[in-house]
Symmetry: C2
Subunit: 330 residues, 2 copies
């Protein structure tokens, strides 16, 4: 069925009926504003804007996957602060020739992950638009003191969760035609479409006061590391041989073995700073984080900048610059 | 200076530096999420999506005015719940050929109204985009029980704040070429560009438990009345001769004397239901609302629908349907 037939208010009514009210929601979708409970005396809020042709292509993304990922990337921002997600506000600009079923598939992707992560969809806005565009704001509780990007100190260890570069490599495989389907290829593509926000890891690192500074990896390791370093006023060294790479990544990365791991975006892993004296405390709780962690480098004085070194101690010549929306550069 | 020269992170840094931190803000712009204080044990949140070519045209809107109005329309949603605004999250999709100064003018418009209404800009997202697009989420405190759309009862009086149709008529004048500048024309255009959210009225009507149901007029009186009636499961009659019209409106509306007042959007006045026995209580506090109020009709049983009648009691034949983004109809 076409959106034109259902109409804007028909669509909103369908979404409202399919949306469970959720914990802490006093007034949900359908009034001038949502009214929700605040568990502590403060809360976290984060926002992401996703535009067709800029952040995603419907050529290789399903509506379901896009909904899932929209929430996942916002969950990841909260994970990086050590927060617990609670309420989602979702605004959509939708091309009028979309089918109602497509939009409902998108919401089904949202609901699947929302239900797993205890998130309630509480409101938003809809409009016609030339290209599909998604603006999501996610509110989270802050049970512990949030972890900023700015608490890193010279001498701190640098850790990441999970493996790096899978998502960017998965996207490359999606764009290439004619690749044969196999398990490892499927793994990388699934890491691109269905990233896992490291909520458990973020919460425990905040609760145990272990991460001094933290950021999630959305723009690529080097770019996000540079944000953390700038905010913390430190430099950093990354040890090439320490970078955690999946078996699938090693199979497919080829000659550009490190490029995706260092500069590829959308991993949605966490990067954090740890006082070296806390290593044994981290060791004791690491099994509870829900994801492996790897020490990949350490913080240096700011004037040393950011460098990646090989096992001989030689710096790799790789640009630290990531994607800039207004410069269109890597 | 072009955005390409400043870059995405350069732009964000400029905005961050120009933004005062604001009350209740523990962590503002520049981290993975904002961290803000919650005054009560609950809060309100509302969201609006504005797209160039759909909701506004840069042909007759300045960047400053657009920033101002972006916040104003969100303030109006909170006013309609009886809330007090606190935190703004703003995501922008910006054409890469925009000047940095244009974007800064937009933020200046935001800041002007934010400062007057005690709102702190705490975060958001930016991206390149073909057309300028604005997604704003506004969080507000709820000092009193929020007023929904659903509390209206048969027999309730219907009131509106201010005057109706000025904004839609102002937009019509903007689109027509060659009109002579004069005070009344200027008034209507200013009502279109710089609407006033009725925050004081909303708060007092909630505090005094006077409004049983309330909505702000963004889509036109009849459309928004139909939302309120649907949520409250009532019908309504509007008395044509009671509609509050400004002198400027009466001068310019011509033959379509009632069209803009009944169906014109973007007035951002409040429409609310009152128990008839509360009329004298309303009378006593009305001078404190900051805006005149007018009784324009009353709630009927649902099966009577929504009608506008002339002084002879005859119904006007005017369509209740307002703008539907997916149907493009009035």
């Amino acid at each position: 069925m076409l959106l034109k037939e259902v109409g804007e208010f028909g669509l909103i009514e369908r979404i409202r009926q399919a949306t469970p009210k959720g914990r802490g929601v006093r007034i949900g979708i359908g009034d001038d504003a949502a009214w929700v409970e605040c568990r502590n005396r403060s809360f976290l809020i984060t926002s992401d804007l996703l535009i067709e042709g800029v952040h995603f292509s419907l050529k290789w993304t399903s509506f379901y996957g896009l909904g899932y990922k929209t929430l996942a990337v916002n969950l990841s921002d909260l994970a990086a602060m050590g927060g617990s997600p609670a309420y989602l506000i979702l605004s959509l600009g939708i091309p009028v020739d979309f089918k109602t079923e497509d939009v409902e598939e998108f919401y089904r992707g949202i609901r699947t992950l929302a239900s797993r992560s205890s998130v309630a969809l509480v409101g938003g806005d809809t409009s016609a638009s030339k290209r599909f565009l998604i603006s999501a704001s996610l509110v989270g509780h802050s049970p512990y003191k949030p972890i900023t990007r700015s608490g890193g100190k010279v001498g701190d260890d640098l850790y990441v969760t999970g493996t790096l570069g899978d998502s960017a490599l998965g996207l490359k495989l999606l764009k290439e035609k004619g690749g044969r389907a196999n398990k490892e290829r499927g793994y990388l593509i699934s890491r691109h479409h269905f990233p896992t926000a490291r909520l458990m890891a973020g919460t425990i690192l905040a609760q145990k006061n272990l991460a001094r500074a933290m950021i999630d990896l959305s723009d690529g390791l080097l770019q996000d590391l540079s944000h953390l370093c700038k905010a913390s006023r430190v430099g950093a060294v990354i040890w090439q041989e320490a970078l955690p790479l999946s078996r699938a990544y090693r199979t497919f990365a080829g000659k550009k073995a490190l490029l995706y791991a260092l500069t590829g975006g959308e991993d949605y892993e966490l990067l954090f700073c740890l006082r070296p004296r806390d290593r044994s405390r981290l060791e004791r709780i690491k099994k509870r984080l829900g994801v492996p962690i790897t020490r990949i480098g350490k913080c240096l004085p700011a004037h040393e900048g950011i460098k990646v070194i090989n096992p001989k101690g030689e710096p790799l010549s790789i640009s630290v610059t990531g994607y800039d929306h207004f410069r269109k550069s890597h």
